[in-house]
Symmetry: D2
Subunit: 324 residues, 4 copies
């Protein structure tokens, strides 16, 4: 393989730049030409493709977002779109791809390979940590720390006013951000999609807090929670408690996607970027590079897409014990 390209696709995540840097520097190290594609499949279709050197990725390891930009491309979902993309890939003489993104990205890459035989190796770039085939995804550790910093700040106010806060964090269908930021933030309760948490249980925990004269309580709600959004959860709680509650709702929102990546995310991203590149060089295709138990592993896209990623029972148990 003499010439490859790298792109980011789907929602951006902190650490994507560190991953791009590892792909580019790794390619330079191994004597391979490397191109960047802007805005994922959109740029592939439009030929927004440019050669990258070691310099192209100087001083980006610490930046959030992605210098290659990201987008979701409807056109790539059509045969015509993929034909245009293939034309560009051929025009630039690109023999293989490193795709940094999530399952939507990997689904596109799989179809593209089936149709045109261009191999792709993926790196898991998403704050949600919802990908089978790796313990953690790029951006997750930063998102958890951002959520945690917010919870710490809100705890200041909650304590000062003896207030209950219902805090919604990101994660789509996954409760990982919620459970980790909840444990680290000392939340009294964490509601995740993976586990059924009846509102009555939340109410009981809050009432026990009153009895033990806790000065404040924090409930962290994952955005995919089946009981609804933080606002809906708060309303359901209100209906089940007679006394007047000083309860506030806050949704952390988009701050969780950005920011300077943590050390963990930069190292993971570097390792996965290099792993994806070297996998591609060694003939891997339609697989995602991941780190499981500190070992680099490659998992077929069909498994990362199909298989669920359960949340640790241990963590769920810890929330209960630590909030006594």
């Amino acid at each position: 393989m003499k010439r490859i390209a790298v792109f980011t696709s789907g929602g951006d995540a902190p650490g994507m730049n560190a991953c791009i840097r590892a792909v580019v520097r790794g390619a330079v190290y191994h004597g391979i030409e490397v191109f960047g594609i802007r805005r994922g499949y959109t740029g592939m279709i439009n030929g927004d493709i440019f050669q990258m050197t070691s310099h192209s990725v100087s001083n980006i390891v610490q930046r959030g977002g992605t210098i290659l930009k990201s987008a979701r491309s409807k056109e790539f979902m059509t045969p015509e779109g993929r034909a245009k993309a293939h034309e560009q890939i051929q025009k630039f003489g690109i023999e293989g791809l490193v795709a940094i993104g999530g399952n939507g990205t990997f689904t596109g890459a799989t179809i593209f390979y089936d149709e045109y035989g261009i191999p792709t190796v993926g790196a898991p770039g998403t704050i949600d940590n919802d990908l089978y085939g790796t313990d953690y995804t790029i951006g997750f550790d930063t998102a958890v720390n951002t959520a945690l910093e917010a919870i710490d700040k809100i705890r200041d106010t909650a304590d000062s006013h003896d207030r209950i806060f219902i805090i919604e964090v990101m994660g789509r269908d996954s409760g990982y951000i919620a459970i980790q930021s909840g444990i680290a933030g000392g939340a009294e309760m964490v509601m995740v999609p993976e586990v059924l948490t009846p509102i009555s249980e939340v109410v009981n925990t809050l009432k026990q807090g009153f009895v033990r004269s806790k000065s404040s309580s924090i409930v962290v709600v994952a955005e995919g929670e089946e009981e609804g959004s933080a606002a809906e959860v708060a309303e359901k709680i209100s209906k089940l408690i007679d006394e007047e509650l000083d309860m506030r709702v806050t949704t952390l929102g988009h701050i969780q996607r950005g920011g300077i990546p943590t050390a963990y995310d930069r190292i993971l991203a570097s390792r996965l970027g290099l792993g994806a590149l070297e996998g591609l060089m060694n003939g891997e295709k339609n697989v995602m590079a991941g780190v499981i138990n500190n070992e680099l592993v490659y998992t077929p896209f069909r498994d990362t897409i199909r298989l669920p990623k359960p949340i640790s029972e241990d963590l769920l148990r810890m929330v209960k014990i630590l909030s006594v």
Copy 2:
């Protein structure tokens, strides 16, 4: 004056602890006994009052929230409530009060003085910077930096996706947090209650951005903005732009109230706490300690309550110039 008390009231603000510390240490330094009242006027009514020493305020200068806790008391608005409060104040032999809070707090203190002759000197503790009589209030600088950090993170995502973000920040009727975080965050537009900003102007600015191929745009909206909340502003914008926009709305919310205070807030809070205490010792009453042009000044509560605090024309002009 041999014995005074200090309390925090209204919304909590970062730096309140540094202010409490200055009042307590200042009192110790001047040989005056000092008491803390918990939960503002609520604690005054309930006698939740305790003696403080130099040790009571060790290691709190860096903490958000308020160790004396805060609350809004409806009971203190009644003559009966104030009678109970006075009973407690007498019981503890307290001769003067330092109140850290905003206009609600100062209004209560004024009535209390009229009825019972207990003098209060105030310190401006609110993130909103909406108090006449001081250039900045305690907590404002921290809130601006918290909002700014959030804007920086959101900019990462906005740039990565060529997106427009409408970000709502706190400030109640004041546009100070919006204008300062907007300028510092490089916002393309800032909407504040003090100035009429027609939606058409916002739309024009955004369209000019497209023309100059800005990759992203950020509009900061103060919560008191007359065009409505960030969500409402976004909807109005959508209606005036034909092409499909990738526009997102985010409301920063309660994270702006908490957090580790900045150096500025700790120093300002220390200075105002000491200033309030020494004012009280020197016979001041019904006044708020403030810092104007780096000088300590005392402003009557009736003025801090009555007079508006206009936003600087210079800052408004800067937003326009810097977003070209």
Copy 3:
């Protein structure tokens, strides 16, 4: 087991408070009485021991340092000191100990068990990550992120002035902090005690940087590096390069020990605190709770003390590739 005690010993590390909280809350959850011992073995000897409740550990999960304070006790190294300590342990009816610290702490606990039969389970609390028996120690992730934040700041100046910086980070005999902060910070070179790095190699890397017209270079030196301190390394470099270099040396120092713990450290600390407690309840003794490959494991003190903890070859290789 009905009554246990917890203490911190040796250098403090961020996350120790989260660990103490987990031990205390876990004990409350399991219906066991729990005591805190101040200043490690010093407080054990002096009887500085007090009962803890769920409330004792409220609002500490986010604080650096240790609320139980820490110290190194020379007296406990003597039979007389341990006899006094045992007297106090008996007086308070304590049947088992959770010790948060490093190898010095565990050595003491082993001797104490041999003499008096009081079982101890340890939790690895040290920023250095130099303990066999756990992938990471409590405080390490925070220390790496603190070092990284410093490197990021220094990179700003290095780039602005086209300068070489030699930065010394902590870690005693271990290169873990150096290697992780170096990779994450984009260092051109990392010097660790585990690997021989001749100065000539450093000089070559720096010279190659000039050739590729890198605008700045950063060399991270572990404090245990056999070539000497950062200052000594800088001097050796100067002697081997003819041209005049704009080279600066900075030693990060004690800031690496403190600070708000990261999410990772709080979760790890909580898990290990609970694990140590439940190990003790289940009859474990003279072992350290650790997490290896995401599983809780107990390793005998004699192994944590005796066995080396090698640094990953993968990480060393990454530094080289990523700095091309």
Copy 4:
């Protein structure tokens, strides 16, 4: 004036990029062509000069360091060097300069004007806050907050071990960073060059701390302190105290120069950049733009260079009172 240039010179300071951005965007707004000069006077001599547009300064407001890079030029101190510089300035048709830097920079600009009549307006860019003619310099607020964050971290360790820390902060001949970070960090003592502080007084304060059983003490020493460096101060203290002290020394070093600028620094830098540009447009020359009492003012270079900037007596008094 139709064409101007901007450059940064001397030590870099956080906020310089925000200042460059304001100069460039202001010029675009006013219809003036604007050029950037790299590495200060060095680039002026070498013709390292390039046209800047609104885009050139996108997404830099939040970055530390200076995108124009900085250097100290010995050659510009010679008539030959300045002749070369003038040649380049003429070649590019540049009619006026905005110089972001300190007194060294302004001295050079004054001589250059005397010889060649090219007018310069300065903006005060230095973390040291040692310039007469402005309340605060660009970078100072960030440096104080960086020093403060370090002090907060060190306090965690100091408290955990009942230790004394002697911390050296930057500031050259000025005690501003020391006094502000010291007050905000709750230091027991601050030693600044502006005030004679006999070691005996430091020792007395520390001893009083022991008597009041303070668990830790922090002494902040400005780098220009006449009693010597932090290490020398620590040694002098040791000699005057009989009992064994657990005392540590740490020098914060270069981290104080870099980092993401605070809101305050970005706003101040924007205002001063715009002020310098508009001053230049209005015929000002050999003056520095500053903000005093929230008003934009221009002060002749000869005064900024000649006149001292005393430290506030109020602040010095506050250290003493707040450490009781």
